[in-house]
């Protein structure tokens, strides 16, 4: 079963391993982020590594406190003051951490961000038109009329037909779903090369989510845009991303081609996460709950596997050493027993 799927996977858009052919658009290596909390520094990311190829969509999945939002913020250099960052972030070969002033601003126009809460992330006293065209006019000197014309075109492609009227409205006059579409159109307006989407559909209804995801997916492919898609929903990430990375306690536990994630996961945590969700097509006698609760990065021990305390496959050795992220079957996994367990974890789907 798993070998068959692996063969299929080679046709999918993105290469799976980190030593893939061609230069990565975004390369994050050994990223450590610590934030000041009540006077002391608290780790939120523990040596996080990931890469995204040009045009590739990478899903980043995890429970609360796993550090997925902080990853996006760290990449776009949006961490709160007092944060301490180590490791390297390279975008198109350039060192992001060393950027200052105009260079940093140019980088930010190449990387667009979509946030979970569009209401909080739009200025309430500025009109939609102003919000959409600001970056275009400021950074590229596009004249207002031209910028508005382009905004209206993009609004149309996200399914908003009456653009000219929308541009004159204020954010509070739009519903959440509509505002998120505006956000997406705005993000795409400056023709970025990488999209950082932080739970862009979590606050939306399921049908609206499907619609917004479809728009995002379609436009992204059209424009050849790479994307880091952050979500807590494993199924959603697997459906719209080429590869999916699963985070736990500030670490990447597994990176897998999305089509293999359910049938042939490499890490026990991924398998447990998939099994814990109730199913829409069957009533289970009992859900396979994971005991305990998710650990935050600062609670996880530095010298042991972070998942050890909740893992059904735990052995004594797991509590002694932090496993490395290693390549396996075209994916990456951070499990000491990965080779041993290979092919046995995807028990769930027929």
């Amino acid at each position: 079963m798993s070998t068959a799927s692996a063969a299929n996977a080679s046709t999918s858009a993105g290469p799976a391993g980190r030593h893939a052919s061609g230069r990565a658009l975004l390369e994050v290596r050994d990223l450590v982020v610590e934030l000041p909390v009540e006077g002391s520094l608290r780790p939120v990311l523990h040596g996080l590594s990931l890469s995204i190829q040009p045009g590739e969509a990478l899903g980043l999945v995890g429970e609360s406190g796993s550090g997925k939002s902080m990853t996006a913020r760290a990449i776009d250099r949006l961490l709160p003051p007092g944060a301490r960052v180590r490791g390297t972030i390279r975008f198109d070969g350039r060192d992001v951490m060393g950027m200052e002033g105009p260079e940093l601003r140019r980088f930010r126009t190449e990387v667009a961000m979509i946030f979970q809460d569009p209401r909080a992330h739009t200025n309430p006293v500025r009109r939609i038109g102003d919000f959409m065209t600001e970056a275009l006019r400021t950074n590229e000197g596009v004249p207002l009329r031209e910028a508005e014309h382009r905004a209206i075109q993009l609004l149309e492609s996200v399914g908003i037909e009456d653009g000219p009227r929308r541009l004159r409205q204020y954010p509070h006059e739009l519903s959440g779903g509509l505002l998120q579409r505006v956000m997406i159109a705005t993000a795409l307006l400056t023709r970025p090369r990488l999209l950082l989407a932080d739970e862009p559909t979590t606050a939306l209804d399921v049908t609206t989510q499907a619609e917004v995801m479809a728009i995002l997916d379609e436009l992204r492919r059209e424009m050849g845009l790479a994307m880091l898609f952050i979500t807590h929903d494993l199924e959603l990430a697997a459906a719209v991303c080429d590869r999916t990375a699963v985070m736990y306690a500030g670490r990447v536990m597994e990176v897998r081609v999305s089509s293999l994630l359910h049938d042939d996961p490499l890490h026990p945590y991924t398998a447990a996460l998939a099994a814990a969700r109730p199913r829409i097509d069957a009533t289970l006698p009992r859900l396979a709950a994971i005991p305990g609760r998710p650990l935050s990065a600062f609670e996880a021990p530095a010298d042991a596997c972070a998942f050890a305390s909740r893992c059904p496959y735990v052995q004594e050795e797991c509590g002694r050493r932090q496993p490395e992220l290693v390549e396996l079957d075209g994916g990456l996994t951070r499990c000491r027993r990965a080779v041993e367990l290979r092919g046995t974890l995807g028990a769930r789907r027929a």
């Binding site: 006293v125 500025r126 970056a135």
Partner: protein, 316 residues
């Protein structure tokens, strides 16, 4: 929509003023003491004289009729006659209102220019400047106008003799010269409050998520500050400045007393002491009207600055 908002606000203003005028009138109507006794200065009058006075001041009319007469007069600019000075209250108010208006205006300018200026500087530049502004305003916010008055008189008119300590002054420059110390005394604590609120609002706006959006889109810092931080902070700054300036209208009485200025407030206090009811009623009405008007202006400004205000709904 905007027009409807304005009309609605004006109707509320009229309602508030009507109720206020009723409160002012009835409070003094209910005051203990016989008006005839006040009119006669305590002497006992012959019954004929009492009857004439009662008729002239409508003392025997029912309460509501008296209120109606007073209100009608007030609307025509007739606020009755001062018992102490035997003069038209309106004339007396007209001769004094200039001083109070000039004083409040002068103090307001100080508050807006210096208060908001200091607040912006502190809000935008963390560090030594910010710390010193915080420390200085913490103390000056607690200085009552009359304490400021004695210190200013002591330093600037007794010691260095730059400014006069008493009186109104002649001509434009004379007035400015004479009103400088009173205006500073009146403004000092409000100025500090406005500065602190301004600083806090600017800091607060910096932390908003939409500012993060602007930063994430590569907008230059200067523009982020101007178009997203300051523009949005203008809303709370306007509100607090307006409320603070409105409160000066009443506090001016204290400053006028401290500097022996010939203004409305000082006159009100004198009338209150001598129980000159018509004067107290008249000046109270003028002050309340001014206070409420300033508040309406603040409300309208707020609605103009913040598109989220539902213009059809109640203000505030």
């Amino acid at each position: 929509m905007r027009l409807r908002f304005l009309l609605r606000r004006l109707a509320m203003l009229a309602g508030t003023l009507l109720v206020s005028s009723f409160v002012i009138f009835s409070a003094l109507f209910l005051a203990p003491g016989n008006p005839i006794a006040v009119l006669s200065g305590g002497r006992s009058l012959p019954p004929d004289a009492v009857r004439i006075l009662e008729a002239r001041y409508h003392l025997n009319d029912p309460f509501l009729a008296q209120y109606w007469l007073w209100l009608k007069g007030a609307l025509h600019g007739d606020l009755g006659i001062s018992i102490a000075l035997r003069e038209d209250v309106s004339t007396l108010i007209a001769s004094r209102i200039g001083t109070t208006a000039a004083l409040v205006l002068y103090a307001s300018l100080l508050i807006l220019l210096i208060g908001i200026g200091l607040g912006l500087a502190a809000g935008l530049r963390p560090g030594l400047l910010d710390t010193s502004v915080l420390a200085v305003t913490a103390i000056s916010a607690a200085i009552p106008s009359f304490v400021a008055a004695i210190v200013l008189i002591l330093v600037f008119s007794v010691k260095v003799r730059w400014f006069p300590s008493l009186g109104n002054g002649q001509g434009v420059f004379g007035t400015i010269h004479h009103l400088t110390l009173p205006a500073v005394a009146l403004a000092i604590s409000s100025l500090a409050i406005v500065a602190r609120v301004t600083r806090a609002s600017v800091r607060e706006e910096f932390r908003r998520e939409h500012v993060q959006t602007a930063v994430s889109r590569g907008i230059p810092h200067r523009q982020v500050v101007m178009r997203h931080v300051l523009r949005n902070a203008a809303i709370p700054i306007t509100t607090v400045s307006g409320i603070t300036i409105a409160s000066l209208i009443a506090v001016s009485a204290v400053v006028e007393r401290a500097f022996s200025l010939n203004g409305l407030g000082a006159y009100l206090v004198a009338a209150a002491t001598s129980k000159d009811f018509a004067v107290v009623q008249g000046i109270s009405l003028v002050l309340v009207t001014a206070f409420v008007l300033v508040n309406v202006v603040v409300d309208v400004l707020y609605a103009v600055l913040d598109p989220r205000v539902d213009l059809g709904a109640r203000a505030r």
